[in-house]
């Protein structure tokens, strides 16, 4: 990665981290409802892959741990936070919530709450690309536990069979909700599981963004050049529980501490400091500035935005009725 890009992406990762930590606080304050799945610890995965791809151009789809993926594609953090607050200005107009962030203008095709649900949707988006003849690719970010769903195998088979331009990124954070991977899955290294579909695959360290970036470059080039799907496994860790109701009784504090020694933000920060591209004081100032941005702009926007109108409860269930009248009435011109 170029130095300028590393500096930029470090800043982005800090925004992502502080955004998520601020969500935690807002949840405790009951400003955010429902389920909340946070991303700290895994930032190098989304950022490293998307640095190798084209955010806003390539189509991205993921599960319910989706805030950072949306923001990385180009979604305004203000709109994502407003969505979490359930406001009309939210990215899904307050109808989606944390697990259903969408920002289609930046080709972020959504967060979905059924584990493994996005696999076939991603292959379908790739099918759409294939039909339309563009050079975009579809990127599907999911966790390791999704690979135990039938949709994983069904989709890997079809993606390989139809040679679809889709990159599957497996963020292997070692836990499916509260069950350790070795207790739920016969094969811990997930990239091995696609060999049955003759699919190109690789595994790399998901904490070091430069390693992620290099592996993702190979993967993205493979898919974009029309060679079919690719499966990239990133070994990573989420610091917080699966969601907010999770007190992490299924793992030790020692294990968590060990992973925090390999924090994706600190790895990049320390490298930039060692390369004399920045100082610790620069970093600390940046963190403060980002916290101020999140408080004064992101949170402020969410707090001050209006609620959706109750009269519009049924809006968005179906397409705008007027536009569909030829088919509803059969009186097509």
């Amino acid at each position: 990665m170029k130095l300028e890009d590393k500096k930029r992406v470090l800043r982005e990762m800090v925004v992502h981290r502080r955004f998520e930590e601020r969500c935690y606080q807002a949840y405790i304050e009951r400003k955010i409802g429902g389920f909340l799945h946070l991303y700290p610890g895994q930032e190098a995965c989304c950022n490293g892959v998307m640095e190798a791809a084209r955010p806003g151009y390539d189509y991205v789809i993921t599960g319910y741990r989706d805030h950072v993926h949306a923001i990385k594609c180009g979604a305004d953090p203000k709109e994502v936070m407003a969505e979490l607050y359930g406001k009309e200005t939210g990215s899904s107009k307050g109808r989606g919530g944390s697990m259903h962030i969408f920002d289609v203008k930046h080709r972020f095709m959504g967060g979905y709450a059924l584990v493994g649900g996005p696999f076939p949707l991603a292959a379908g988006i790739a099918k759409g690309i294939q039909m339309k003849g563009g050079d975009e690719i579809a990127i599907c970010f999911l966790g390791d536990a999704a690979n135990n769903q039938g949709t994983f195998h069904e989709t890997m088979n079809m993606a390989a069979l139809y040679k679809l331009p889709v990159l599957f990124v497996c963020e292997n954070n070692l836990y499916g909700i509260g069950t350790a991977i070795e207790r739920s899955t016969a094969v811990v290294h997930q990239h091995k599981r696609v060999c049955g579909y003759d699919m190109e695959a690789a595994e790399t360290d998901g904490q070091d963004i430069e390693k992620v970036y290099e592996a993702a470059k190979v993967a993205v080039n493979h898919v974009r050049s029309g060679k079919g799907p690719y499966f990239l496994e990133l070994l990573t860790y989420r610091y917080r529980g699966h969601s907010m109701s999770d007190s992490r009784g299924y793992r030790t504090r020692e294990e968590e501490e060990m992973w925090k020694q390999r924090d994706p933000i600190y790895i990049l920060r320390d490298r930039l400091i060692a390369e004399k591209a920045m100082t610790m004081a620069d970093y600390e100032a940046m963190e403060k500035e980002i916290d101020a941005y999140i408080e004064n702009e992101v949170i402020k926007f969410a707090e001050e935005s209006p609620e959706p109108k109750v009269e519009e409860l049924e809006k968005y269930v179906f397409a705008d009725r007027e536009s569909q009248m030829p088919w509803i009435t059969g009186k097509a011109a």
Binding site: V104, P120, L121, Y316, F318, T329, K331
Partner: protein, 327 residues
């Protein structure tokens, strides 16, 4: 106006729409090289090729999801689920993805898909190949449900469903693919909403959909000839949304209603129609509305038991006579 078969009508709608729009595709098990289990996609593979006529693996949930994902980019997939029994496996994608995506994205994404499948009991196909599942589909917000009772509807409903931006489930019937009927020679779009008065009457309304419309027509004939009862037959080809106004109008005229469906009671289309009658025109009723349904058993294999499980025109006649105190 030409007389063609139900399957030919469906095939014609596919062909016309695929010729018009290169983004219309179809997919499902055995629909391409094999031409479709019920011939509904016959000849399309040869004409449009494997990129647009996709033979899928037997992976219902994921190929359905694949079609839905493609629809996010403006592709118009016609997704065939060979038998509605297999749609149980695809419901996750149909309901959680297609039906909800528009709402949960605040209107940003829509899934303009068509799902088609053959439902109902045919001849001794047994418990796992004879399901009536329309009751499940019609309870899902964001999904339109239509069910053609003749070739004209089969053609026109599919045409409209393909063009509509909402996801549409089309419930066909295993026993009806070879049924003949008139279909306009010129392009025809059947309304996705509403109902049709198939036979006008004054004494009782027989509500039905899909195959039960035919039982009701036969029953109306018997009622007229043998008992002097004038039955109106209403075809509820749109199950979601139901035609509340059409239901109200007919009941307000006849003041009696029998609701007939091949589905098993309890819970279903028939109980929903009776609820609508209660909500729309309770005080128009001269008798409590009743339903005629299949027995609540897994469909038996044995021919005699199978026949006993499914209603027919005689059962409809009996229900009407009871309503008139003649049984």
């Amino acid at each position: 106006m030409a007389e063609i078969m139900y399957w030919e009508a469906i095939q014609r709608a596919h062909d016309e729409e695929m010729a018009r729009d290169p983004l219309v595709i179809c997919m499902g098990e055995d629909i391409g090289v094999a031409g479709g289990t019920y011939k509904a996609t016959k000849g399309l593979y040869e004409k449009y090729g494997p990129l647009r006529v996709i033979d899928t693996p037997i992976s219902e949930n994921s190929y359905t999801g694949l079609g839905i994902g493609a629809s996010f980019l403006g592709v118009r997939p016609i997704i065939e689920l060979m038998s509605v029994n297999f749609a149980w496996l695809a419901m996750d994608q149909m309901f959680n993805s297609a039906a909800k995506v528009r709402y949960m994205s605040g209107g940003q994404l829509t899934a303009p898909c068509v799902f088609r499948s053959a439902g109902g009991a045919a001849h001794q196909l047994g418990a796992q190949h004879s399901a009536r599942m329309e009751k499940v589909f019609m309870g899902i917000a964001g999904l339109r449900v239509v069910t053609p009772s003749n070739p004209r509807q089969a053609y026109g409903l599919l045409k409209s469903a393909i063009r509509c931006d909402d996801p549409v489930y089309i419930n066909e019937h295993e026993l009806m693919y070879n049924m003949k009927g008139d279909v306009p020679d010129t392009e025809y779009f059947h309304p996705l909403e509403g109902s049709e008065v198939t036979r006008s009457g004054t004494d009782v309304t027989l509500f039905g959909y899909n195959i039960s419309v035919h039982w009701n027509l036969k029953a109306a004939e018997i009622l007229d000839k043998q008992y002097g009862i004038s039955a109106e037959v209403v075809d509820l080809y749109s199950l979601s949304p139901l035609d509340r106004e059409g239901i109200r109008k007919s009941v307000s005229k006849t003041h009696r209603a029998v609701v007939v469906g091949e589905e098993e009671a309890p819970v279903g289309v028939c109980s929903e129609v009776i609820s609508v009658i209660n909500e729309e025109c309770f005080f128009e009723l001269d008798a409590a509305p009743v339903r005629v349904n299949s027995a609540l058993v897994p469909q038996p294999y044995n021919h005699t038991l199978e026949k006993a499980a499914i209603p027919n025109a005689e059962d409809v006649v009996a229900a009407v006579l009871k309503l008139f105190g003649k049984a």
